[in-house]
């Protein structure tokens, strides 16, 4: 359990790094195009990969840290028992959604692997490179959602999440 928690944190930090990396690559792209009239063929595509992988591997951490945007207007005024039941229900709903997306996402990924499909873009990377992020991210999210449901059931206090935008 501890190891899993560490992995989730590490993935989120990696995601933060990937977004920073995307910024660096695109800055280079503008410099290369504007000052050297030599646009790169890789910056746009690799930074896009950073976004896909980054977002999907950060999901479990955001769930654990309650960083997903949610509406607390009703749950906030419920008595403690009601709040716990609502929380368990919410986490199981996330788990169910994750399970289906994982299952269907795996199919898309595996189909591309078997067919040897490529992106057909400038870099022509294998199509499964971005597609693998969906089953990977949602498998971990599924586990995290079940863990959160368990934590709530055992009565470990779960803090209300911060609002993002």
């Amino acid at each position: 359990m501890r190891a899993f928690s560490l992995i989730v944190t590490a993935l989120a930090m990696l995601a933060a790094l990937l977004f920073v990396l995307a910024g660096v690559m695109l800055t280079w792209e503008v410099v290369a195009r504007y000052f050297f009239v030599k646009p790169t063929i890789w910056a746009a595509e690799l930074s896009q990969l950073c976004l896909i992988w980054g977002t999907l591997i950060a999901m479990p951490w955001c769930l654990r840290e309650r960083r997903h945007i949610r509406i607390t207007a009703v749950t906030g005024v419920l008595p403690m028992a009601g709040r716990r039941i609502a929380e368990i229900f919410a986490m199981l709903a996330v788990a169910l959604f994750s399970a289906i997306v994982f299952w269907k996402g795996w199919g898309i990924f595996w189909d591309s692997v078997e067919r040897g499909r490529t992106s057909g873009t400038m870099l022509d990377l294998p199509a499964w490179v971005p597609e693998a992020a969906v089953p990977f991210g949602f498998a971990i999210l599924l586990a995290q959602a079940l863990i959160e449901a368990g934590r709530t059931l055992r009565g470990e206090i779960v803090a209300e999440g911060a609002h993002g935008e």
Partner: protein, 423 residues
């Protein structure tokens, strides 16, 4: 009937506390399964959302404004503007609005704008004897400039959904944004004079020079980002990347206010917000596909087409619907859910899609400052440690000025469209 069922399911999930992204995605997925459509559409929608180059601007703009926030740029900006206009009637209020406007030109988010300027401006204004309610309203409303003045995350999302040029949307936000700044300033000066609220002392020239020099890099950054977009040197996404790089240079070697811890926090915060936002976009995309397959947008557009004939009536009705929705809906979900439903009808009535995008963004600004669900209200509430009610009442006059801007925009569309298309 089916519409009622869908909305009931969505509301139930949202109110139980299922994160917005998974509530939208979950209802969408449920509809696909119930209607006999392929559930493959769910992972496909995930991938295609994250594979959009334009949405890559979201983490980059967030990184830029987080770095600036950690680097204390809000304080420098406010100090400089205050040194110039603080002694006017309502001078501190004017300084607050101008600071919000400048920060809005760097940041794509209303919450970031309200938080950055609010942190410094609220204590300052209160200590000078400004009315509490006025101060809270001003900051909550001033913060919403963040999404009207480019860059703007809701505009990026609208452009993505409507397949319209984000660049054109950005440029179209400039005019109405400037108009709102003017209204806010005029109102604040008048109100402060009427209520006899305090002024700051006239700042000396040395003070002005010192604060301006410190704020100059941030103002330069705003000029760089907008200039890069406007001149065509960079796409909005690339401009966000350059802005991030420049923000690092300014707060790092130049001002020496950014620490390694600050940088790490900025990156982690940008990661969390990006994930939260983009998952909502993806969830809304699944939901959007499902309602399209149930042919609801077509039915609604057809219904509107039969019952509403004038664009004026349409805009009025839509404004009311968005206002009511905005009471309880989170801003981005509104854009995502309503754009595919309303845009076909709007275009059918001859409304320009870019104009319609700007109109939606102003209505979203209203949603951000109306209770019970309004992110900017929460921000001010948590900075000032006051009740929601007090902040919400202070917002009323500013809400009225937003409606005024919408009215002007309707009768004079060039307020938005002149800069992108006729300049």
């Amino acid at each position: 009937m089916i519409v009622v069922l869908i909305l009931a399911a969505l509301f139930a999930l949202l109110l139980v506390g299922v994160p917005v992204a998974f509530a939208l995605g979950g209802v969408g997925l449920g509809m696909l399964l119930a209607g006999g459509f392929s559930p493959l559409m769910a992972p496909q929608a995930m991938l295609s959302t994250l594979d959009g180059f334009i949405l890559l601007a979201v983490p980059l703009f967030l990184l830029m404004s987080n770095v600036l926030l950690k680097g204390g740029v809000g304080r420098d900006l406010f100090a400089a503007v205050q040194a110039w206009v603080g002694h006017w009637p309502g001078g501190l209020a004017v300084a607050t609005i101008v600071s919000c406007g400048i920060f809005a030109a760097i940041s794509g988010s209303s919450v970031a704008t309200a938080a950055t300027i609010g942190t410094v401006a609220i204590p300052e204004m209160l200590s000078r004897g400004y009315e509490r309610r006025f101060v809270y309203g001003l900051l909550a409303a001033g913060g919403t400039l963040g999404i009207l003045i480019p860059p703007s995350i809701p505009m990026i999302v609208y452009g993505f959904v409507a397949e319209e040029s984000v660049l054109a949307l950005f440029l179209a936000g400039v005019g109405p944004g400037a108009a709102l700044v003017c209204f806010f300033i005029v109102f604040s000066m008048g109100y402060a004079a009427w209520r006899g609220m305090g002024r700051a002392e006239v700042a000396g020239w040395a003070e002005r020079r010192r604060t301006t020099v410190r704020a100059l890099p941030s103002i330069g950054l705003a000029v760089l980002v907008i200039g890069a977009i406007y001149s065509g040197a960079a796409t909005p996404t690339e401009a966000a990347a350059i802005g991030f790089a420049a923000a690092l240079v300014i707060t790092g070697p130049l001002l020496r206010t950014l620490t390694w811890t600050g940088l790490r926090e900025a990156a982690v915060d940008a990661m969390a917000t990006t994930t939260a936002i983009l998952l909502i976009v993806a969830g809304a995309k699944i939901f959007g596909k499902a309602i399209a397959l149930y042919r609801l947008p077509q039915d609604i557009a057809g219904f509107i087409g039969q019952t509403i004939e004038s664009p004026f009536a349409f805009v009025l009705v839509v404004a009311l619907v968005l206002l009511v929705m905005g009471l309880v809906f989170e801003a981005l979900s509104m854009v995502l859910i309503m754009t595919p439903v309303l845009l076909p009808a709007a275009q059918h009535l001859g409304l320009d899609p870019i104009w319609f995008g700007v109109f939606m963004v102003i209505m979203v600004e209203c949603a951000l400052i109306t209770p019970p669900v309004g992110l900017n209200l929460y921000v001010i509430q948590s900075i000032a440690r006051v009740g929601l009610g007090e902040v919400a009442r202070g917002v009323l006059p500013f809400l009225a000025m937003m409606f005024l801007t919408v009215a002007i925009l309707y009768f004079w569309p060039d307020l938005a469209l002149y800069i992108p298309f006729r300049l």
